[in-house]
Symmetry: none
Subunit: 150 residues, 4 copies
């Protein structure tokens, strides 16, 4: 039997809130998704004016980041022409997203979930996703956000 | 040219909050989705312990309800053997959900969005979805919930 | 943060071995899948002569059972004409299987995975899946099979 | 009438065991799939800690290799910009995998199945898949494959 940890709904909402605050600061309406470590959706918000194509891109970026345990921009580099993973973008029914904006969330070395952001440029999406991850990582471990972990 | 009204992200979160409060009262962890009048996801929450199969069922129930402008339980009746819509459940790649728990949200006679709930029995799902809709309908139009509409 | 338990690969193989032994006793070649509590595949075996249509049916039965936290035959009853879940079979892109042969695996009250069996009659599939679950449940908790649980 | 040969379940498990032993030696948890010459799954194992996105990638790599009768890394080269198969990666609903880690299994000149590996780098995936194929190929051809081996 394996024992594992995953983000709960309050964690997910805190990640989204932090990402959203960053999105507002840079002035871009975003779709923001948080999935658990198995890639299943926990929470999602589409800010008013965000792109409808961003909905599933955000969800799939988070799914991809949980799966590959890396940011989707890193998979994007490996997907460039001439690189060995070129063409992986269309795998898994196209859910494998190779554009920046998806990040895994680590806790004590393990992936416990992910965040995916879409509607801006890949750089903006990544910046907003990172703000979500940073909020998680900066929480003191005694808070409810990181209950009983480090 | 058409002008239309749709739920904004704050409306969607208020619908989810009201549905979630009902889910807690009846003691069932639920997946709760809110879509706009075009069937596109605005917000989603999976309560801790809710079913993973409930994620897309909730989203698709809300999508279906927005589309048919009726509760999914009503489509369920029309999908029964001998009825004219029998078999419609598999349409649209299976996104046409014929099980209770999806409701459209009306405002001044127009569909402005929908809510979909899944993880309980169809009756529980419908009860929780209805709680979301009721919270919306009961808001005075001067509130932030119905900002500037009637 | 949530803490949860799931079947590991050795658990999955033990479940398959027990199910397979039962399949051999009743003389039916089966497809046997084990998924984790999130519905993701851990291990799969197709016995020589089992049905090719049984491959994904077995995987999806296990996925469904993990999702609904019940046997797929129970969802099958709710899917019958006149019942409120009639038509749910086509949900989730058709991955929602309503035929017997999928069972969740519980440990200390929590779903930790599932098993799905296909190629026989629904009754045979269920019998074989149950043999897998029984092997798991009957293991003394001190064994590696149920490491540190009850 | 055609008569064909294909891997049986014991062959498939032997291929997986050999691949898994290599994966352990290089210290990477892998998803390992074996399909028959028709591209249908025979057996699958996800080592603890392997990537969830690797599940279907492994299955689809094996499927692709059986289909094209070549390693998926070779299709990857043909999929590069400027090459005649550029863009084939998205064919077949994205099941056409152009990343290394899928290999056909030949016996006396015929494809009798395939193996697909995913969770490492493409080079690691290929190395582990090759270890599975080597175990098969090194068996004396007088055996019916690995009957009576360890």
């Amino acid at each position: 039997m394996l024992t594992l940890r995953r983000l709960d709904i309050e964690d997910a909402k805190a990640l989204i809130a932090a990402a959203k605050a960053k999105a507002e600061r840079i002035g871009v309406s975003m779709c923001i998704a948080v999935t658990d470590e198995s890639g299943n959706l926990i929470a999602f918000e589409r800010m008013d004016g965000a792109k409808i194509t961003g909905i599933n891109l955000a969800i799939d970026k988070s799914y991809t980041a949980c799966g590959i345990k890396k940011g989707t921009h890193i998979l994007g580099e490996a997907n460039q022409p001439g690189k060995p993973a070129h063409g992986i973008a269309s795998a898994l029914g196209g859910r494998m997203v190779v554009v920046g904006g998806g990040l895994p969330v680590f806790d004590a070395g393990d992936v416990v979930g992910g965040i995916g952001v879409s509607s801006g440029t890949p750089a903006q999406d990544l910046e907003v996703a990172q703000a979500g991850v940073d909020a998680f990582s900066n929480e003191p471990s005694s808070s409810s956000f990181l209950r009983g972990t480090t």
